[in-house]
Symmetry: C2
Subunit: 168 residues, 2 copies
């Protein structure tokens, strides 16, 4: 579906029974070893804890009845830092290029505002993931930090990681 | 003991039975609401999980048989980011100014090297904690990022947070 626009993309909170579909996406994305720190061999049980359990609040993007993307919103810090949200986004590899990441980002910003967050921060944007960096920039995020060689990319080796942030 | 040099400061891995002393330090530091994101009302059980349980590896600084400081070393990210260490340090308020933080930092850098980490990163250095910022800089850390107003300081209100990093 690369290049097509997302049609009838519905974003909604994830239910427990969505996890099989979410896991298929999580596993495919993480197995790539090119965008997330989560180990490629992360198990289903670990993924469920990471994505589905508090403080993580999971959402899904559905298209024609199929879950094609998911995001998880959470406070970036506990206590005195919990006014800043953190969010992770994953699109099914078969559904990339259709604007699903953009739709999820826009939705998550609105959900974060509604939940009372006043900013959003990404701690670990892999610098070689240039499409994602541009996407977050189009959604108002600025690079506020860079950590040299903080990610071991499966094919590129050590790659820098960006910290990105925006107010809500 | 402000201004005195640490005498016979012994740094060693924490044991489970050290937790009562560690909790006294953790609680006193966190209750201040001026240096850590952990909520001032963090409970003993939460503190034990944060500081004592894997992947956190806790150490204590002992002086004349009394635990005056503690640090906790852990990977800053899972999986493909777990070559970068993270560390948190706490000194008992009664023992500040005696070089205990410096001794713990130096010790933690050596322990991190021995454990195979190739870098160390602090994600949440409160910018108003200028003594800590200078201390980390003296130990080779550079500011690699700054997040505006990411900490709600008990008396100062919104304060910037620094990301600091060094290779090992």
């Amino acid at each position: 579906m690369a290049g097509t626009k997302p049609m009838a993309l519905a974003l909604r909170p994830a239910r427990a029974r969505d996890f099989a579909d979410i896991w298929a996406i999580f596993h495919a994305v993480v197995a790539g070893g090119d965008t997330y720190a989560y180990a490629p061999e992360t198990t289903m049980i670990q993924a469920r804890r990471i994505w589905m359990e508090p403080p993580s609040v999971p959402y899904v993007a559905e298209q024609s009845g199929r879950i094609v993307g998911t995001y998880a919103l959470r406070p970036n810090q506990p206590g005195l830092g919990d006014h800043v949200a953190n969010c992770g986004y994953m699109t099914h590899p078969d559904a990339r290029g259709g604007g699903i990441g953009a739709a999820m980002c826009a939705h998550s910003l609105q959900v974060a505002r509604e939940r009372g967050y006043t900013a959003m921060q990404f701690n670990f944007v892999v610098a070689s993931n240039e499409g994602a960096v541009r996407l977050w920039q189009r959604h108002g995020f600025a690079v506020v930090g860079r950590v040299a060689a903080a990610f071991r990319h499966r094919t590129l080796g050590p790659v820098d990681v960006l910290i990105m942030h925006r107010l809500l």
